[in-house]
Amino acid sequence: MESMREDVADETEMVDAPSAGPDRGEALRIAEALLFASAEPFSVEELAGRLPEGVDVAAILDELSAQYAGRGVNLVRVSGRWAFRTASDLSFVLARDVVEQKKLSRAAMETLAIVAYHQPVTRAEIEEIRGVATSKGTLDLLLETGWVRLRGRRRAPGRPVTYGTTPHFLDHFGLDAIDDLPGLEELKGAGFLEGRVPSDLSVPIPSDDDTLRPDEDPLDQDDLFLPMELGDGDE
């Protein structure tokens, strides 16, 4: 490393190990290039086969790994072989955060709306309101947005999971509380609905409160770790 820092351009200085012979600098360069270009880590034997005769491969590798010790890339031993790897403290530079703006599908949006207005709500109830089956992916996706959460299980046959919204949901849609969602009459007033609102069609009062409803049981311990299709009891 020292030699590399000081003057790399001058190759003779780069190698100042006691056993330095005329070929040593070349062997170091070859080993470096081989290790860099190889898709697989090299064993000492494999390297020896590619370096000039009589080169002390172990010494070359020691020297190389010392030179690279403090750098952004290190020469490391992996399963008995040698390879260049990004310095472990720099693994973060290889990770890149990409924020992808995605739009919810119509089905997802509708499901979200029902969850918001009718929470706590089961999948069967969502399907009843929408009049169509809700694809497995839709609820998974909504959970992924962070807007919808599993609340508990309905105290009913099959113990279906109940869904509700999260504080993040309120945040995203600029709502102060879940009861700020406009009711049907307000929706009509805003032009979202046409015609007379039948008296028997109303919106239950949604609750995103953490407190479970009387007909809700807490989630089973495993629910959060089960894949949806297993954890979802209301299928």
Binding site: M109, A113, L187
Partner: protein, 266 residues
């Protein structure tokens, strides 16, 4: 670059008899221009100073030799030979006064230029080929470490989208209910039940319409009541429980109970 080419001066004589050995393998050439370039190289002079006339003669000699050996020649070799024969004759004859056509010298210059251009690009191709190719002479990282992309999907939706989605579904439900009302019908069973109630005290001819009026409070129900009642009536007539009478088409329908044989007997 369009320097005047000395057409006739170059070592024509020594070549005229020489080197027929070349003239065997046509397959080695990529077209007439390639062959011409090779012949030009054989003049062992800079292409700037090439003799087009000598070149034309050589080419024609080559083609003739090839034909004598019954080698198959692609048409464009022959076309080039014909053109060169023409060029040669023009070069040998005194130039006519300036006409529409380019002078023989211009044609020769253009050909020389094409040859030089081909030679130049060949040289360029050679130099390019001699460069250090990635993956042949120099190498990139053999085991690139993938840049891990943490995709943070951010879903976008507005409150408007949310409300519109909700309203859309509720609206569907309203519509579904209205349709349910419209589909409300007086079933045959209902009609028959009502008729049977009627028949009990129909001792004389009674207007069916008048009787049905009581059921037709809702105008929307009128067609279905009429249709079902008529069907039920006809059914009861078939069973011998009712008589039906109508003066003419669209006239009121009269019904009367058929006296029970048991009653009649009494």
């Amino acid at each position: 670059m369009a320097n005047v080419l000395p057409f006739e001066d170059v070592e024509r004589v020594e070549r005229a008899d020489g080197e027929p050995a070349l003239l065997v393998d046509v397959d080695g050439f990529e077209g007439p221009l390639d062959l011409l370039l090779e012949l030009a190289r054989r003049q062992k002079v800079d292409l700037h100073k090439i003799s087009i006339l000598a070149l034309a003669e050589q080419y024609i000699a080559f083609i003739e030799a090839a034909r004598r050996m019954r080698l198959e020649l692609a048409a464009d070799y022959l076309v080039m030979a014909a053109w060169l024969a023409y060029l040669k004759s023009r070069l040998l004859l005194p130039e006519p006064p300036k006409g529409e056509e380019p002078s023989a010298e211009d044609l020769a210059t253009a050909l020389a230029l094409r040859l030089r251009r081909l030679e130049v690009i060949r040289e360029a191709a050679r130099k390019l080929g001699e460069r250090n190719w990635l993956g042949r002479d120099v190498f990139g990282r053999g085991a690139p470490e993938a840049v891990v992309v943490h995709k943070d999907s951010q879903y976008q939706a507005t409150l408007y989208d949310l409300l519109a989605a909700y309203a859309r579904q509720r609206q569907k439900q309203f519509n579904a209910r209205v349709q349910l009302h419209q589909r409300n019908v007086w079933s045959l069973a209902e009609a028959r039940e009502a008729l049977e109630r009627l028949v009990g005290h129909l001792k004389d001819w009674t207007s069916l319409d008048a009787y049905l009026m009581t059921y037709m409070v809702e105008p929307a129900m009128r067609p279905t009541i009429l249709a079902s009642t008529l069907s039920a009536t006809l059914e009861m007539v078939r069973e011998g429980k009712l008589s039906v009478r109508q003066e003419k088409a669209f006239a009121p329908v009269w019904v009367r109970a058929v006296p029970d044989p048991a009653d009649a007997g009494a």
